[in-house]
Symmetry: C2
Amino acid sequence: MSTPAYKRLENDERRRRLVELGEQLFIEHSFDEISMAQIAREAGVSKALLYHYFPSKQEFFVATLTTRAEELVQRVTPDPSLPPAQALLRSLYAYVGWISEHRDGFVKLLRSAAIVPEVDDIVRQVRDGTATRIIDGLAEASGETPTPIARIAVAGWLSFMDGAILAWLDHPDVQQDQLIGLLVGSLLGSLTAAGAGSLAQAAAGG
Amino acid sequence: MSTPAYKRLENDERRRRLVELGEQLFIEHSFDEISMAQIAREAGVSKALLYHYFPSKQEFFVATLTTRAEELVQRVTPDPSLPPAQALLRSLYAYVGWISEHRDGFVKLLRSAAIVPEVDDIVRQVRDGTATRIIDGLAEASGETPTPIARIAVAGWLSFMDGAILAWLDHPDVQQDQLIGLLVGSLLGSLTAAGAGSLAQAAAGG
DNA sequence: CGTCTTGTCGACCATCGGTCAGCGGACCGT
DNA sequence: ACGGTCCGCTGACCGATGGTCGACAAGACG
């Protein structure tokens, strides 16, 4: 007689919708800026249902991330058939391009990563994984084994990328090519300063 | 007749003790790892008293930071009477040295900074302020005005420092001199790649 | 010894992440 | 059309958190 109190969906469909909504919300709000109660209200659903599908807020957040993270990894993975210098360039363009497309979400993501260890793992995994592939490519091409100080240089360079790209987002007058040039140049300079000359040469395309 | 239920201290004295305790606690625990109730209990005082002296947890945290932050700023500020390359080196040694001395607190601090905007402001202020002074010194010495891309390079380099130093803390076999060399080298490479050649020359000591 | 200032506290609040017993949609066989 | 049944879904609840407030009492001063 009366209208139903709630709409019942199939398990997979409900889950899909919740993740989809989460993807949107976590672009505008970082992890601690939004509560499970708010998310549930936004979804027109009880908080308990959210916890029925996801064991914790962190796991829910991770679930909203994995799709785009996998997309990024795929785009940014260097092509092993290319010479390392070119593969590096391609990966950088892909990385910077992806961030440009998701700039709002990227900033929120970095904030969330600092709060939720699980998210930090994902970010780290993507970044370090990419870096490792790059370095491996260079090392293979140059025959040089990375030293501890070279590893520190790479770790620093990864942070450099985030910092520089973040700053670049606030300088719309600077061309993307210029940024990429800066990123390559800083990697070169860092590797050289770390005494990993032949790695740097491989990166420079020599 | 009975012993007093609590000891009453003068306003300034109580505040001083609370800040002092906070300094210790926030070295071992980051902002969200410890609650105001725990802090109060540790201080042998009611939570309400904490809030009587500090309007919020964030402000309390900031209060526990300012002393050491000012100490760091003072140590790291470049000496304008020195040639810029030497002033840069001195500042870097001071910065790295300070972090080595406070390594546990430094890691916790970075975590807290990602959570509390107010703390992030302080960290940023110290870092960017130092960088600005460094860059101004180089610019003055070289007569070159920093371009937008050069500013991006510097922003990236600041992140490089944190990333590299953090990684260095996990590689105790690497000498501090090597680290400093890497930092200078990456700054050089970045400025050069940003097309700020004469800034780089000034940094190199030329 | 009483009085007054104000440092101090216990009790309280909304909200947070998270849990649980059980209500009630909607599809089934009849 | 109807009763049964599976399971998607909810409201009420938990302990802990950051934060507030009126009232008590410590201790200096007369």
